[in-house]
């Protein structure tokens, strides 16, 4: 399958890329990993007349902790997460997420920032970043701005990025001590999108009480969802089985799945319930120092 013709640009700096984007207008598309964009172009679901390839811009491939935040650069590949000592030692939830995305070959090209910028509710990083309370650094003609992840996904395949902005970085607050997270996804086979997925990030205090809970849901709505009622319910409570069970019911109630080839809405809602219980238990174990 052959994509429609397009004009190709490979800027060498981010400033140059922003200038190009401003000049070419909203029909131009940014190419990073290209593992969603190129297949869509081959199917002609997308036919952008201009492609701005940011892969030749130096210094955008980083996963590093700096000034209280984990910073993930626009060109950090999924497979880079799998070998990052920072991710391996301190962010098991990111490892959970990366390894269930597509397959190892796709992950050698695909980027986490692209996974977010694409605005696909079936993608996996959005739920995880919602749970982690991340923010998005966008760069445009008037400089950088920070967008909280909670207001980033505006509708199906649509984000808060303006047409003249490029997603430069995902910024994750370094979790407080006694924090833990997990991402769980049910899929039919390797490479499939989630039938449903749940990301959980919690912070406990010394007395076993939950101080903060973040819960993100994958592919059970037209945008990635944040299970706010379940989060609020957990906050200030010890995480015993009854509390976890109730929070999972709330999260399931907040999901908005539809019937499709991956299952009925009822089935997916129940998956959210089951996965939330499992993810909370795993996150709790990790918050207590387990694996």
């Amino acid at each position: 399958m052959i994509p429609r013709s397009f004009e190709y640009f490979a800027p060498r700096t981010l400033d140059e890329a922003v200038l190009l984007l401003g000049k070419l207008g909203p029909e131009a598309k940014i190419l990073s990993g290209g593992q969603s964009l190129i297949p869509m172009m081959k199917l002609r679901l997308a036919a952008p007349p201009y492609i701005i390839d940011i892969n030749r811009i130096p210094d955008l491939n980083y996963i590093t902790e700096l000034n209280g935040f984990l910073r993930i650069g626009a060109l950090a590949r999924e497979s880079d997460f799998e070998v990052s000592p920072t991710v391996l030692s301190r962010y098991p939830i990111l490892m959970d997420t990366t390894v269930v995305i597509a397959d190892p070959l796709v992950r050698n090209q695909a980027t986490a920032c692209g996974n977010i910028a694409h605005g696909d509710p079936a993608n996996d990083h959005p739920a995880t970043m919602l749970a982690l309370g991340a923010s998005i650094i966008a760069v445009g003609p008037s400089g950088e701005r920070e967008i909280p992840i909670g207001s980033f996904f505006t509708s199906l395949f649509t984000t808060a990025l303006q047409p003249d902005e490029i997603l430069k970085e995902i910024k994750v607050p370094i979790p407080a001590p006694s924090s833990g997270g997990a991402y769980l996804k049910i899929k039919r086979k390797v490479g499939d999108y989630a039938t449903a997925g749940v990301a959980v990030q919690i912070t406990m205090n010394g007395a076993g009480v939950c101080q903060r809970a973040g819960i993100g849901l994958t592919n059970v709505g037209f945008v990635p969802l944040k299970a706010k009622e379940a989060e609020a319910f957990l906050t200030g409570k010890p995480l015993d089985d009854a509390t976890i069970k109730r929070a999972a019911e709330l999260a399931a109630g907040e999901s908005q799945p539809i019937d499709d080839i991956r299952g009925t809405a009822d089935y997916k809602r129940d998956l959210v319930r089951v996965l939330t219980v499992r993810a909370l238990n795993r996150a709790l174990k990790r918050a207590n120092g387990g694996a």
Binding site: M1, Y8, A10, G34, I38, P39, P104, L105, V106, N108
Partner: protein
């Protein structure tokens, strides 16, 4: 649409070409360079038959534009054999009967080549994980796993590349 000049190294040989921006790397390899060992299987980024090694990483060449490979280095299945001697991963497929129809084999070989460079002592589970982006409809994967194990053992004893 104006064509774009690219220069890249394929199997150790410098190549230059003028290509359309929309030309996929797999078509560049097969049609411009006539390196037809790299196969087009599904054409929808699922099957991995088109896998090549791009700057050391195994990627699906149906999901990369040829212009993206400008200035970079590519290894295809044709580049595995050196001086008439099969690479150990090829030898593994030969010895362990790692193929039947052979359609997925170039992709399986290139994934294996890159994978064993970073892990020459893999568990069976790690191998199965590594080939999860390469579909084979004949073998049931059992002998492919054995072929990887054969190659890994050879790499460990021989210190070959």
């Amino acid at each position: 649409m104006a064509k774009i000049g690219i220069k890249l190294k394929v199997n150790g040989v410098e190549r230059a070409a003028e290509v359309e921006s929309r030309l996929l790397l797999v078509h560049f390899l097969r049609e411009n360079l006539r390196l037809t060992g790299t196969h087009v299987g599904c054409d929808t980024s699922h099957c991995g038959a088109c896998t090549v090694v791009l700057d050391g990483r195994a990627v699906k060449s149906c999901s990369v534009f040829a212009v993206q490979a400008d200035g970079r280095e590519i290894l295809t299945v044709e580049g595995l054999e050196q001086d008439g001697k099969l690479h150990v991963i090829q030898e593994g497929f030969f010895q362990e009967h790692g193929l039947q129809c052979g359609f997925c084999t170039p992709g399986m070989l290139m994934t294996g080549y890159a994978f064993l460079k970073s892990n020459s002592n893999p568990t069976e589970d790690e191998i199965r994980h590594a080939i999860s982006g390469n579909l084979c409809r004949c073998t049931g994967y059992v002998n492919i796993v054995k072929a990887y194990q054969y190659a890994a053992a050879k790499l460990r004893e021989g210190g070959e590349k």
